[in-house]
Symmetry: C2
Subunit: 363 residues, 2 copies
Amino acid sequence: MKIESVSVDHFRIPLPVALSDSTHGTMTHSGLITVRIRDGDGMEGVGYTYTVNDIGSRAIRTLIEDDLAPAVLNEDPRDIDRLWEKMWWHAHFCGRGGLVSFAMAAIDIALWDLAGKRAEAPLWRLLGGHRNAVQAYAGGIDLAFSLDALLAQADEFLERGFTAIKMKVGRAILGEDVARAEAMRDKLGDHFPLMADANMRWGVHEAVAAARALTPVGLVWLEEPTIPDDWAGNRRIAEQGGVPIAAGENLHSVYEFEQLIMHTAVSYPEPDAATLGGITPWIKVAHLAQARNLPVTSHGIHDIHVHLLCAVSNGSYLEFHGFGLERFLEVPLVLDNGLARAPDRPGHGVAFIWDRLAEHRVA
Amino acid sequence: MKIESVSVDHFRIPLPVALSDSTHGTMTHSGLITVRIRDGDGMEGVGYTYTVNDIGSRAIRTLIEDDLAPAVLNEDPRDIDRLWEKMWWHAHFCGRGGLVSFAMAAIDIALWDLAGKRAEAPLWRLLGGHRNAVQAYAGGIDLAFSLDALLAQADEFLERGFTAIKMKVGRAILGEDVARAEAMRDKLGDHFPLMADANMRWGVHEAVAAARALTPVGLVWLEEPTIPDDWAGNRRIAEQGGVPIAAGENLHSVYEFEQLIMHTAVSYPEPDAATLGGITPWIKVAHLAQARNLPVTSHGIHDIHVHLLCAVSNGSYLEFHGFGLERFLEVPLVLDNGLARAPDRPGHGVAFIWDRLAEHRVA
């Protein structure tokens, strides 16, 4: 059994509406890099990763074409862990995480998809099968929204069936963050799960102050209060702020998650398979978290993460991400009483509508 | 004052002789990615980075072309630190170090070169000017050499005027490493500075054992005994092994060096400006090291590092790297009684022979 071909495509997808948070400014596009791996039986696995505003996309695609695809071509596609290590060491000098992890992710996800298709099993079953549905939350990217627009968005989320919502914080004036979070709490009721995401906006002292000011709102978590590189600072925020902390979307290796989980008092590790190197390291992070008595949540690509959160026993909330890939999928993920149900189709079950993507292709 | 153009070139340079270490296998090529930045007065700064076996080169070049060059174009080239932060945040989602740091390095080095040319000062003076020469060592990449070849290479190094030598260790049998190091010690005499580099070959226990077995050889340092991601393990090796540790060539951000310097008991932090994001973060790492009572050494691109080690008061050995770029330089760095002298030409003073590089250009 051999990998016969690895084909890469790159699309620049306009967002349905421009989004903003405290770090990435205005986001108008996302980059989508897809990988299709075909084996000797003609079966095909599909993987993908993404970027904000398409930054780095062509570099990721180039790295796959030039360096990673040749490393896996003609290898046995069933040796997923071995091929993951091969890619890691092949690109180690310019890798050890970072952008290389995005490129590895697209290949790794394609290999797992192929494995699921060969086994005629959905990924959540192939990976261990703890349950087949997980509570979802709506990830609002709404820092610049007026209060009215923020609350109107919440109405939309409720109408779509969400039973948990995340909002952005990190405005120039902390009082505005608190007032907006309080208005959301008033609207949603005392027991509705509400999260807030600061996208690394604050210094450590500011973050502690913000967490304390937000404590009465009763957040499920406060996300990325400061940069991930400051392990000791993150620990101080978690210990002194009084609000559970979620973090991890900007970490790109299992080793970085080991630091996060062991040394920062994080409550919700949040690996993103698309930016961490794929499903192989995502599962390892989930296991690390469980060994530390922690749940695991997710960031981005919910069509993949619904399987992963269902496969492990410590799966927590699934982020429904706002990048608007739904219109390019044959069967978008739907909500059922606030739950996202992992599909029973073989592999991850994500089928792109390639014809519709075609107009956004980057040559 | 504005940046008028940023041009990128990529060369695949065959090594004069195939090299090997314990991690990268056989190295036959290196990738060279150059950046030329031109300002409104027509002055030009040159920067560059490199890769092992050319892996990742085209991705680095693509990232510069697509994402980083547009971020600095039309900016004031004198705002080096500001532009560094701008690039860091522009590419943060796929960055935070890793491959993005290679791309940033080429631009940052070009900006510093331009600053030196504008000031009509060599970089070592522009950056602080502690002295104008630094002790060099020859970095042998010789793990697969026979003992005879290893000793013959040492003769060559001595003839070229080197007064310090680094050899590779990490062979399958530790006794061979020890025997080879002892043979080198016998040849070179008791007080000749000899280093050994394991290129992450060992687990922690093995590394402690290797350090203890190598202790009688009297090494200046043992380099990268294990993977850099294991901060606690590196600390244990340094504390229990009994040999000073050098590390850092695989770290790609100041934050990673902060971890290394504060938490691993490292003796010789070893930043590489070409893979760390350039001169701007290299100087910050040198200052961090000094605050911790440590010297700083270097890895790779000795034509740049000679300036940096001369500019700071804690500059230690300069690695003379074996990637063979000399034949493409107008004025290669030379040794003077074992010292490498920082040139007095403005900027870094590295002038590529573009005609000679041309035959190795990658389209």
